[in-house]
Each structure stands twice: as structure tokens, then as C-alpha cells.
Assembly symmetry: C2
Homo-oligomer: 139 residues x 2
């Protein structure tokens, strides 16, 4: 599966440990650096970028591109989700900018529909539903 070496460095371990404490949440590179620095742990942001890229390749972390000028979001994929191939969708509110992160049967059905009826293999990591959230709509 992989031919590259992969040292178990202190930084990788600390980064991965942190990601595991926030499964299913969207974390930016800055979030990681801020958190670890507050914990007194020293890690360079370049290292976080490189380790994140590696973990995405390994399939243990997902990368999301929400908006052009928002930083990339990373999310730890729990091993239980590995097996069920958990599909997570994102809704972005155009008013308040809030990102809603949802896992839903009906939405998973979209994938199947697109595949079966349109031959289109949907990539939920890149797909964002834009609209207006409930709070902004009722306001």
C-alpha cells in the first residue's frame, strides 16, 4: 500500500493523539498549532502541513475544502468509520458562515442515486451544500 518510510516521531505522535480526541470535527492547521502550543508542545506549522498530507494519503484523515479563502479543514476518521465508509456531508451558511457537519441516511442516498441513475461518483469531501441555516433563516 505504501512504499514511503514513516518514522514515528514525537511530533507525529502528538499530532495524531490530538486528532483522535476530536474525531469528526473540523480542524485547521492553525487549530492544531494553537492547541499544541498552549499545551507547551513545540511543533512547526510546516510539519503539521506535511503530516496532515501524509495522513490524508494514509486514509486516516480527511481533508475538506470548504471555501476559496478558508483554510483547509482536516478531520480524523475513526476506525469504526473506516469500515462503514462513513459519508459526511457539509452545509455552509452563506449568511453567518457557519459550517454544519452532518451524517445522514437520506443524504447518503444521494450518492447511490447519482451513481446508479447518473453514473456519477460523488466525492463528499469536496462537495459542500450552500444555503441558509435555520438560525439565519428565522432571523
Amino acid at each position: 500500500m505504501e512504499g514511503k518510510p514513516n518514522y514515528k516521531t514525537k511530533q507525529r505522535t502528538q499530532l495524531l493523539d490530538y486528532m483522535k480526541t476530536v474525531p469528526g470535527q473540523h480542524i485547521t492547521v492553525n487549530d492544531v498549532c494553537d492547541y499544541l502550543h498552549r499545551q507547551g508542545v513545540s511543533i512547526g506549522q510546516t510539519t503539521v502541513y506535511r503530516q496532515m498530507e501524509r495522513m490524508v494519503d494514509e486514509g486516516i484523515v480527511n481533508k475538506y475544502l470548504i471555501d476559496a479563502n478558508s483554510p483547509a479543514c482536516f478531520e480524523y476518521v475513526p476506525e469504526s468509520d473506516h469500515r462503514t465508509e462513513g459519508v459526511c456531508f457539509h452545509c455552509k451558511c452563506e449568511k453567518c458562515g457557519k459550517l454544519i457537519h452532518m451524517t445522514c441516511e437520506a443524504l447518503s442516498g444521494i450518492r447511490e442515486h447519482l451513481m446508479e441513475d447518473h453514473g456519477f461518483l460523488l466525492d463528499p469531501r469536496r462537495t459542500v451544500f450552500y444555503g441558509v441555516c435555520e438560525a439565519c433563516r428565522t432571523a
Copy 2:
């Protein structure tokens, strides 16, 4: 529908005229500037950015984010697509870049589901499904 003023400036007209000549194609801000400058037309890239944003708000242009460090792509939406009043969805192939327009009952059901079960008002003009089209998938 809109409260903002919208002057018919020379730059907006020329930008829009150009976009209309390349419907369904993805155009970057640089593409526009280069093309218009070759035509001897003077336009600042800041103006292109601002007019593009406005046209996206108006729903006559779609904005696509293909990759994190690629410039945003814009695409003119033909008026025939306008009239479908939000039941037209777009799928963008990450491999070949092809844009697929689809009008489909099952997809319209997504809107209702998101509204009823999640309180989220979907804006189909801004929402693009990313994935791999049938041709690229079987290749």
C-alpha cells in the same frame, strides 16, 4: 431580489460579453484579464474579482473550487438554466473538468429533506457536486 445598485459600466459589459461567449467553460480571473488585454480592452483584475462575485450573487455565474491552490473558476450560466428555478443541479468532474447539468426529481428531494429535517435552505445555484463522471470512471 436585490437592493444593491448595479451600474452598467463598460467593464461589466465587456466582462459579461466575454463570459457569454464561453458558456459551460471554466474561466479564471487571469483568463479574463489576459483575453481582454489581448483585445486591447483595459480592465483591472480587482474589478474582475468584484464583478465576478456580484454575478455569482446574481446567479448568472457559477464559481467552482477545483483545488486548494488553484485559482477559482467561473462559468457563465445560460439563461435556459436560470428558468429552471433552482431544480437544476451541477456536477463537476474532478478528472476532466466537465460540468454536468441535471434536472432530476430525486435531487429536488434533497432540498425538501434539508429543509424539513435540517432546517437548511439549500441554494442550488451555488451548490456543486464534485466527483468523477461516468466516462472518466470507466476509463
